[in-house]
C-alpha cells in the first residue's frame, strides 16, 4: 500500500461519485459511473483484494455500464429533477 496512490485514487472516486449524481445528462452519468467503478477497481487492487478488483472491473466497469447505456438509449436522456 502506497498512501499517495490511495489518496489520489480515493479523491478521484469521490469526485466521480459526486459528478455522477449531479450531472443532468443521464448518458454521461452512466459513463462516469463506469469510470467510478474502474477507479474502485484500482483501489481494490491497491489494497490487495485482487479477486474483488477483477469482479469490479468485469461487472462494474464493463457490463453494467453497457446496461446503463442501453437503458438510457431506450428511455430518455434528460432527468426531470
Amino acid at each position: 500500500m502506497i498512501w499517495q496512490f490511495d489518496l489520489i485514487i480515493l479523491a478521484l472516486v469521490v469526485i466521480s461519485a459526486i459528478a455522477a449524481i449531479t450531472i443532468k445528462d443521464l448518458l454521461s452519468a452512466g459513463v462516469i459511473l463506469g469510470a467510478y467503478s474502474f477507479l474502485m477497481c484500482l483501489l481494490w487492487t491497491e489494497m490487495g483484494a485482487v479477486d474483488v478488483a477483477f469482479t469490479e472491473a468485469s461487472v462494474g466497469a464493463g457490463v453494467s455500464t453497457v446496461f446503463m447505456i442501453a437503458a438510457v438509449y431506450k428511455t430518455t436522456r434528460r432527468t426531470k429533477d
Binding site: V50, D51, A53, F54, T55, S58, V59, G62, V63, V66, F67, A70, A71, Y73, K74, T75, T76, R77
Partner: protein, 251 residues
C-alpha cells in the same frame, strides 16, 4: 421533500458511522476473525482442498452455500428482467420512444475487429474460469467476460447476429442449467452420503482422486455452473434492455 431526504440520509449515515465504533480495530491481530477463522483458511487451504487461491476455496468450498444463493440471486434478477420487459405481441408501445431513432451505418472496421477479437475474449474467459484455483478469477468473472463477448457481438453487429448464435430459448435454458449444475453437485454429495456441497465424497465417483483432490474438482464443477448461469443471465438482461423486450434489431 429534499430537506427530508437529506436529513434521513444524514442521520442514517451518522448511525452507520456510530455502529462502526463497535467493530474491532482495522487489522487488529486480536479480533475474533483473525484468531480462529482466517488462520485456518490461510494455513489449511492447500492441505484440505488442494486450491492455492484462498479466495476461491472460501467462496466455492467453505462458503459454498452462500455462493449457490448468490448465483440464484443473479438467476432471479435475470428472470425478473425478462418478466418485466419481455413483450411477445407485435404491437408498438408508444410510451417511450427513443430520442435517437436514426439507424447507424454498420462500420466495417468495428465489425472486423469484433470478429477477430471475440474468440480471444472467450478463450480468456475460459482461462479465467479454469485458472480460478490458482490466480484471481473464477466463475463469476469468467461468466461475465463470456457474456460480455456476446454483448460486444450484439453491439457491433446487431441483436439478430447474436441471437443466431445463441437463441433466446437456448440462453434461458443455459441459465437454468448453470444453477442446476451447482445444486446438482450439492445434491450428488447428499446422495453419496455426506452433507450438502461437501465435495469430499466425490472421490467415490471420480476415478483416481483422493478426498482432497475431489474437493478441488468439486470447486471446478461449481465454478463452471456459476459461469454458465452468469453468462446466460447477462446476455438475457442485455437482449431485453437493448431491444425493449422485443428481441428485434436491438441498439
Amino acid at each position: 421533500m429534499k430537506a427530508i431526504g437529506l436529513i434521513t440520509v444524514f442521520s442514517l449515515g451518522m448511525a452507520l458511522f456510530y455502529a462502526t465504533i463497535d467493530f474491532p480495530p482495522w487489522a487488529d491481530p486480536q479480533s475474533p476473525a483473525s484468531l480462529h477463522v482466517s488462520p485456518h483458511y490461510i494455513q489449511e487451504t492447500m492441505k484440505e482442498t488442494d486450491v492455492s487461491n484462498v479466495v476461491t476455496s472460501v467462496l466455492a468450498d467453505y462458503r459454498g452455500f452462500d455462493t449457490m444463493f448468490e448465483t440464484s440471486v443473479i438467476f432471479t434478477a435475470g428472470i425478473a428482467v425478462i418478466l418485466i420487459l419481455r413483450k411477445y405481441s407485435k404491437k408498438e408501445d408508444e410510451k417511450f420512444l427513443p430520442e435517437v431513432s436514426e439507424e447507424a451505418e454498420p462500420d466495417i472496421i468495428i465489425q472486423t475487429v469484433t470478429r477477430i477479437i471475440v474468440p480471444f475474449i472467450q478463450l480468456f474467459a475460459l482461462y479465467v474460469i479454469a485458472h480460478g484455483h490458482h490466480s484471481p478469477g473464477g466463475g463469476f468473472q469468467g461468466g461475465v467476460i463470456l457474456g460480455a463477448s456476446f454483448i460486444l457481438l450484439a453491439i457491433s453487429f446487431n441483436l439478430k447476429a447474436m441471437l443466431r448464435r445463441i437463441s433466446e430459448r437456448k440462453d434461458i435454458l443455459l441459465g437454468g442449467i448453470g444453477l442446476l449444475i451447482y445444486s446438482g453437485i450439492g445434491a450428488l454429495c447428499v446422495l453419496l452420503g455426506a452433507n450438502f456441497l461437501n465435495y469430499k465424497v466425490l472421490h467415490l465417483i471420480i476415478p483416481e482422486a483422493s478426498q482432497v483432490e475431489a474437493r478441488s474438482y468439486g470447486i471446478l464443477g461449481v465454478e463452471i455452473g456459476v459461469a454458465i448461469a452468469v453468462m446466460a443471465i447477462m446476455i438475457a438482461i442485455y437482449a431485453n434492455l437493448s431491444s425493449d423486450g422485443k428481441y428485434d434489431k436491438g441498439l
